[in-house]
Symmetry: C2
Subunit: 317 residues, 2 copies
């Protein structure tokens, strides 16, 4: 059952209703899918920007400055900040207090933090679902801010129309970013804190890596933008590069291709999520618990147990 | 169909047969499950050590030095190195050449590198499967060396009997390690490169964080071991701490509990993996591809498509 009144108020950009629907969507129960189905027809207008990179690169600062710039253009901005905070920290998001003081009081800005805490995967699904809610609620810009460390963070960054990878001279080695899979997903790079020593070397190293990469001259070539976000330097250049990328993609008709890929990934994730829920319902957990002893005692391999569980699942799917 | 001759040779520690079975297991076809079922009864003897931490912390150096120390005790060591290398680098594992010169020529050592390259998840499953192969082949020590950046890397580290988290003074902030979920999984910490300036502060910061953590005095408390692995300093202390942890766990009868948890996680992963394979077989992919257009055109939400795909799956599972 969905609350139509709630959806109506959401579409009219009522902040409390937006927050409530996102909470429902995050809770991930069957109801949440009904809400997402209902609002789907109202989505597709917002421009989605992914900002990722190693911890401490200045992603939050860039997000905040970019948000202020968009606000001057009277665009409404939603920020989905994903932090792989562990259960241990209790989900304290260090940058959040600063951020709230900076832009949190602006009614044209909505900030939602999501932690991986307690989440058994599905984080990218939740973040993208939340983006749909903001999209339906009429936000013009949606920024996904994620730490570029795990697969689900990369998935989120790739769900954007334009994906920005933020690096700093010290985290220095583009090699690490490359290893973490950040090079493939960047539509452009921001070399933040570029007033620091060693900045030019980092810039050159990054350029070299980009040059090694095979490229097709008809395709988009990622640029490197220098910034000192804490001093608001380079922010306009970042916004311009986003715009340039947007126009390029639109002119070459590449958004359709990108959206097709994204939709495919998303549907797969939703299907797997629903199946996993069914699989590990109480019945599934029980049959698993009963089997574990057999494996521990060494009589059966985990693979045999897995086959038994699948047989049992066939009967109740 | 499995090749019994191959398994026989594997159990007799024939290196080529070990390599071949691991390749089969990595390929992840139905056959691989049959091999894993077959060798299961020969597993359970090896001691498994997980070494994780941020990039550049010195995990490979510690692994190598520890391996040399175990070799002096005439123990056979298998190393499973997991690197989230992207498709872009082509899977070049930087530390590998050095490592090969160092310990790669020793017939009592077997090194296997696994990249996430091209892998759609399932990496931790493959790494643990490979460990079973080494275990059956009579290796005494199995070391999982992983970059502690993503969920699957954490999963692998947790599949060990003793898990070590390596940090360095510069990567400095234990806060980042904490955020990445590394604090919960450490049986102890190694503060490597502890001859560097700032080392004492890092040590104190880490101690403070460990003290904040709730603990039960009947439980194991993680220590911090200082090392300079490149000069072979602290390696014996690391080996002693592993031994101390092993004895503690055995005396308190905690291995059973740990193995139960690990087995549960593993069976879940295997079940999900087999189901995913069935789900996205050619039939599943086709029905997905046909549906994508409908979503792009805006008629249907991804959630509706997902439900259709699940209905279709019910009929063919």
């Amino acid at each position: 059952m969905i609350n139509n009144n709630l959806i109506e108020k959401l579409l009219k950009q009522d902040r409390r209703s937006i927050a409530r629907v996102i909470t429902i969507v995050e809770s991930n129960d069957y109801n949440s899918n009904e809400y997402l189905k209902e609002i789907h027809k109202n989505t597709g207008r917002a421009y989605r920007i992914g900002i990722t990179g190693p911890p401490g690169a200045g992603k939050s600062t860039i997000t905040n400055q970019l948000t202020k710039l968009y606000r001057k253009q009277n665009l409404k901005v939603a920020i989905i900040a994903v932090d792989p905070t562990s259960p241990f920290t209790g989900g304290a998001l260090l940058g959040d207090r600063v951020r709230m003081n900076d832009i949190g009081m602006d009614s044209g800005v909505f900030i939602r933090s999501m932690a991986t805490r307690g989440s058994l995967g599905g984080l990218s699904k939740k973040a993208i679902d939340a983006a749909d809610v903001f999209d339906a609620a009429g936000f013009d810009i949606i920024i996904f801010e994620t730490v570029g460390v795990g697969q689900s963070e990369l998935d989120i960054a790739q769900a954007a129309d334009t994906t920005i990878v933020v690096l700093v001279p010290e985290s220095g080695d583009s090699v690490q970013a490359m290893k973490a899979g950040l090079m493939e997903i960047a539509d452009f790079f921001v070399l933040n804190k570029s007033d620091r020593p060693g900045s030019q070397q980092s810039y050159t190293a990054l350029q070299t890596i980009l040059m090694i990469k095979d490229h097709d001259k008809n395709l988009w070539l990622p640029n490197i933008i220098k910034s000192v976000a804490s001093e608001n330097k380079g922010i306009e250049e970042i916004a311009n590069e986003i715009e340039r990328h947007k126009i390029f993609m639109a002119e070459k008709n590449l958004f359709t291709l990108k959206r097709e890929k994204q939709t495919k990934v998303r549907i797969k994730e939703i299907v797997e999520h629903i199946l996993k829920d069914k699989l590990w319902s109480q019945t599934g957990e029980n049959s698993l618990n009963l089997s574990i002893e057999k494996v521990i005692l060494g009589n059966l391999s985990p693979y045999q147990i897995a086959e038994e569980i699948i047989e049992e699942f066939k009967n109740r799917i």
